[in-house]
Amino acid sequence: MKAEHKNNIDRREFIKRIGAGSLLTVAAFTGCKSNKSVGDGMAEEDIPTDKMEYRTNPNTNDKVSILGYGCMRWPTKEEEGKTIIDQDRVNSLVDYAIEHGVNFFDTSPVYVQGLSEKATGIALKRHPRDKFFISTKMSNFSNASRENSIMMYESSMKNLQVDYFDYYLLHNIGGSVEDFNRRFIDNGILDFLVEERKKGKIRNLGWSFHGSADVFDHILAYHEKVHWDFVLIQMNYSDWRNARGRNVNAEYLYGELEKRGIPVLIMEPLLGGRLSNVPAHIEARLKMQEPDRSVASWSFRFNGSYPGVLCMLSGMVYDEHLQDNIKTFSPFVPLNDEEKEFLFETADLMLNYPTIPCNDCKYCMPCPYGLDIPAILLHYNKCINEGNIAKSSQDDNYRKTRRAFLIGYDRAVEKQRQAAYCVGCGQCNKHCPQRINIPREIRRIDQYIEKLKQGLDF
C-alpha cells in the first residue's frame, strides 16, 4: 500500500514536473491549455473511444488491442490492517479501458499478494466474455509438483470465473534450463498444458521470459515440438540495445521471435516507471521533440513500431496512466527511423544515470526481515534522476542533496523497513526477474546513507 501510494506521488510528481519542465524549456510549445485531467495538454474529452490500434494474432485471428492491461499493480487499500484490492477502482478502470477499446487483460495467481486474479475476474465478469481476452500464468515457483501446478491452473479458472483462457503462460522462465525442467518438463506440466490447448481450454500457449540468451534459445527450440503461440518479453527502447543486469537485449529476443513468426507480447514497456519518470534533462529532450506527448508515450510508440508486436502490457493504477496510454494508441502513429535513432541516443544518455534496474514488481516482497526493498531502491533511483546523489562531500550542493536524500528517504520508506535492517540473507535474490543483487545494492545504499548521516568526507 505504501509503495502504491508512493507510486502515486511519483506519478503525480512526474506529471507536475512535465508541467514545470515544459514551462521552463518548451514554454512556446506547450501553451497553457486549461483542462482538468492532466498537466500536459490532455483533456478527457480528447480521448477517442474508437481509434484504438488492433493487431491480429495469426494463430487465432484475435483482434487484440495493442495496449494490454497488466493486472500486477491494481490499486489497493488497507482494511483492518490488511491489504485488499480496491474493487470499485478496479471496476471503473476496467470499464474505462474496455469502453476505449482495450481488450487484453493479463494477470497471474501471485500478483498483488495473490489477490489480482479474483479482482480481475470480478471486474471482467461484468462484460460479455467475447469482449475481452484473458491471460494468466502458471506461477508454480515455490511448489512445482504436478498436483500443485494443476491445482493452480484450476483455481485460476475459478478465480477469473471463466471456462477457457485466451492466453496462458509459463510464468517467468529463462533463469536456467534446470529450473525450466523442474517446473514444466519433469512434472509433465507442459504436456498437460498442450493437452488443455487441444481441448480448447487454452486458446494460445506461450511463456514469459527473464534470463539469459542460451536458455531463451533452449526454450524457443521447443517451438518445433510444442508450437508456441506467443512469447512475452521485456522490451522498450532502453532494453533494445542497453539491457541491464542479466537481461538480454530485446533486439535479439524480438529478432528471434519474428524470424519464427511468433507473435510478441511485451512487458515492462516503461520499466516500472523508469521510462516515464526520467532525469529532468532527458525529459526536456523528449518534450522538446513532442511537446504534446507524454514521456511515457515514446516507449509505447517505439514498441508499437515493430509489426511483430501483438500487444504490450502496462500496469495502470491511475486513470491518468490509462488515459495517457489510450491516447498514445488512439490512433497510433509509428515512429520513423529518425525518431527511433533519437530514442537510442536517449537510451545511451540514460546510461549516465546509474539507476538500479528495479521495476517495482514486488516479486522480492515480502522480505522476511520486514524491509521495503522496492521503496529503498526506487528512492535511490529518484535521487539519481533528480541529481540528489552527491558524488563527493565537497560538492557545491552537498548540503541540499544530503537533506533531500535523507528526508525523502524517511518519507519513502518507513523507518523500520530501511536499508540498515538488511541482514543480507539473500532470500530476495532468487525472486528478482531483473537479477538485481539486492543485498549488495541495499548495503551499498546503506553505506552511502551512513556517510551522509555521519557527515563523513568522501
Binding site: K2, A3, I9, E13, K16, M72, T83, P109, V110, Y111, V112, Q113, G114, C361, K362, Y363, M365, P366, C367, P368, Y369, G370, D372, R403, A404, I407, G408, D410, R411, Q416, R417, A420, Y421, C422, V423, G424, C425, G426, Q427, R443, K453, Q454, G455
Partner: protein, 493 residues
C-alpha cells in the same frame, strides 16, 4: 518603563527556554543553549561556580530578577496570574511570610538531596519542573504541528520540514509534569507567586540574598497616599502598604508596583541603609551520594505478531523490540557513570527532548526517577551525535566531542545465542558486525571444523563502546540477540 523591560526580557527568556525543549533538530542549542545553563540549580549541581557567582551577584545588585526573568517556571506562573487578573483586577493582598514553610521545604530539599532520595528535590526544582512540562505537554503538540507541516511539505516536494516521532516516553514522568502544571498553575491563578515564595527552594535561597540587594523598590512615604494599590497589584503579596514596608526576600522585582502607583511613590532605587553584609546563604549539596542502580526493564509494550509469508508484494509484520530485563542503568557517554548522573541530574528532560535517535527516555524507576536512561528499541546512539552532552545544564552529561565519544565505552555488547537468526532461521546475517562503528564485532564460523558453516558474531569488549547499533539493528524480535550491558563507570578505550 522598568516593568516593560522586565516583561520583554521575561518573554524572550521564556520563549527561548521553551524552544530549547521543542526544537528536536537541535539547531537552537548552539546559539541559545546558554539560557538553560544559567539556571540556578543545574548550574549548582554542575558545580558551575562562575554561573552561581554571577546569579548571586545579579541578585545582590538587582534583587530576585532571576525569578522574574530567567526562571521559566516563574514566568509561566506570571502568565497564569496575568490571565487570572484579566478576570479580576487588583486581587492580591499582603500576607505575612510563611517562613516556617519556606525554610522547612528548603531543609527537606537539601536533606533529600544529601540523603540521595532526590526524587522530591527534582520534583520541586523549578527549572526542571518547567522542563518536564515543556517536554511532556508542549513538545508533543509542537511535534504534531511540525508533522502537519511535513505532510504538506511532502505534497509540494519541499524538504523544509520532516516528520518526527511523537510519543510519551514515560507515563510516570508525564504524570509528574501534569501534576506540577495543575498545582503550580492553580496556585498562580489564585495567588500569583505563592509557589515561588513558599515552596521553591531556589526562590528561598535567592530571597535570602535579595534582602541585601543594592537596588530595590522603595515606598516614598512623602508621596504615598496610602491607597494600597501597589499591594493589590503585588503578585508576591509582599507589600505591607499600611506600614510602607516591602518584604524583599519575597519580592521578585517585577516592577508592577512601580507602574501601578499613580503618585510615583514607589521607586526602584539604591537601598537606604548601608549596612552591607555578605550573605553566606548558599545551598549546600553533597555531591557524593547514593550508589545504587536500577535493575529493571524500561518501558515497552506492544503486540507480538507472527511473521507471515505472502505472495508477491506486501510486508512482513514488524514486531516491536523489547528491552532485555533486568538491566542496569545505561547512561550516555559524557555522563561518566550512573552515579555521576544521579548526582547531578535534576530530571529537566532537555536531553530527552533533543535526542534525535530516540534513545533517551526518563526512567520510570524510583532510584533514578525522571533521569535519562538509554534503551535501543527505537534507535541507537549514533556515532555523529553528541546532542545530550551539549545541552545538559547540570553537568550530568559533560560536554564530549565526537572523537571522545568514539573512545568512551559505556557498556559492552553481549551475544544471546538462542535468539540469533543465524541459529534460529539458519540464514546469513552479520548485520551487527556490518554496523558496529568501532569494529568490535567479528563474524566467525559457527563450527570451526566446517568452513561452510554460517558465521556468528564474537564481540571484542575492549573495542565495544556500547552504542547499541548492534542491539537496535539486530533482526531478532522482540528480543535482540545482542544487547548492551552497562558499565558502572564509563571507560576510555
Amino acid at each position: 518603563m522598568l516593568r516593560k523591560i522586565r516583561v520583554f526580557l521575561a518573554t524572550v527568556f521564556f520563549c527561548v527556554v521553551t524552544l530549547l525543549f521543542l526544537d528536536f533538530t537541535g539547531t537552537l542549542h548552539a546559539w541559545l543553549g546558554w539560557t538553560a545553563k544559567i539556571q540556578f540549580l543545574p548550574a549548582l549541581l554542575a558545580l558551575n561556580f562562575g554561573v552561581v557567582a554571577f546569579l548571586v551577584a545579579l541578585t545582590l545588585v538587582f534583587g530576585r530578577i532571576y525569578c522574574s526573568v530567567i526562571c521559566p517556571l516563574g514566568v509561566m506562573q506570571d502568565i497564569f496570574s496575568w490571565a487570572a487578573s484579566k478576570r479580576k483586577k487588583n486581587r492580591f493582598n499582603y500576607s505575612p511570610a510563611k517562613s516556617w514553610l519556606r525554610y522547612g521545604v528548603l531543609i527537606v530539599f537539601i536533606v533529600t538531596l544529601v540523603m540521595g532520595f532526590d526524587v522530591v528535590a527534582h520534583i520541586l526544582a523549578p527549572y526542571s519542573a518547567y522542563g518536564r512540562i515543556a517536554q511532556n505537554l508542549l513538545a508533543p503538540i509542537w511535534g504534531l504541528g511540525n508533522n502537519v507541516l511535513a505532510f504538506l511539505a511532502e505534497r509540494v516536494d519541499s524538504y523544509a520540514f520532516y516528520t518526527t516521532d511523537v510519543w510519551i516516553r514515560s507515563w510516570g514522568t508525564f504524570a509528574v509534569a501534569v501534576a506540577t502544571l495543575v498545582v503550580v498553575g492553580f496556585l498562580a491563578w489564585r495567588g500569583g507567586r505563592t509557589y515561588c515564595n513558599t515552596i521553591c527552594p531556589v526562590g528561598t535561597v535567592l530571597g535570602f540574598i535579595s534582602r541585601f540587594s543594592l537596588l530595590k523598590p522603595v515606598i516614598d512615604t512623602t508621596k504615598c497616599i496610602d491607597c494600597g494599590l501597589c499591594a493589590k497589584k503585588c503578585k508576591a503579596s509582599c507589600i505591607d502598604a499600611k506600614n510602607h514596608k516591602i518584604d524583599y526576600s519575597r519580592c521578585v522585582v517585577c516592577m508592577d508596583c512601580l507602574e501601578s502607583c499613580k503618585k510615583g511613590a514607589v521607586v526602584y532605587t539604591l537601598r537606604k541603609n548601608a549596612n552591607a553584609e555578605q550573605p553566606k546563604g548558599e545551598e549546600k549539596v553533597d555531591t557524593s551520594r547514593k550508589n545504587f542502580l536500577v535493575s529493571a526493564g524500561l518501558l515497552a509494550a506492544s503486540a507480538v505478531k507472527a511473521q507471515e509469508m505472502k505472495l508477491d508484494g506486501g510486508y512482513a509484520t514488524i514486531i516491536d523490540k523489547k528491552p532485555r530485563a533486568p538491566f542496569r542503568t545505561l547512561t550516555p557517554a559524557g555522563s561518566l557513570s550512573a552515579k555521576n548522573m544521579a548526582d547531578h541530574c535534576t530530571g529537566c528532560q532537555l536531553c530527552v527532548a533533543v535526542c534525535p535517535n530516540k534513545v533517551l527516555s526518563p526512567s520510570p524507576y524510583l532510584e533514578n526517577f525522571m533521569q535519562p536512561a538509554m534503551s535501543f528499541e527505537k534507535g541507537y546512539c549514533r556515532p555523529e551525535c553528541t546532542k545530550c552532552s551539549e545541552v545538559c545544564p547540570a553537568g550530568a552529561i559533560r560536554p564530549i566531542s565526537r572523537e571522545e565519544k568514539s573512545s568512551t565505552s559505556i557498556g559492552h555488547a553481549v551475544w544471546v545465542k538462542r535468539n540469533c537468526v543465524v541459529i534460529t532461521d539458519n540464514v546469513e546475517c552479520g548485520n551487527c558486525a556490518e554496523h558496529c562503528p568501532s569494529g568490535a564485532i567479528t563474524m566467525v564460523l559457527s563450527d570451526y571444523t566446517n568452513p561452510k558453516s554460517k558465521k556468528i558474531p564474537v564481540i571484542n569488549k575492549e573495542r565495544c563502546i556500547g552504542c547499541g547499533a548492534c542491539e537496535h539493528l539486530c533482526p531478532s524480535r522482540p528480543y535482540s540477540a545482542i544487547y548492551v550491558k552497562s558499565y558502572k563507570y564509563h571507560k576510555t578505550i
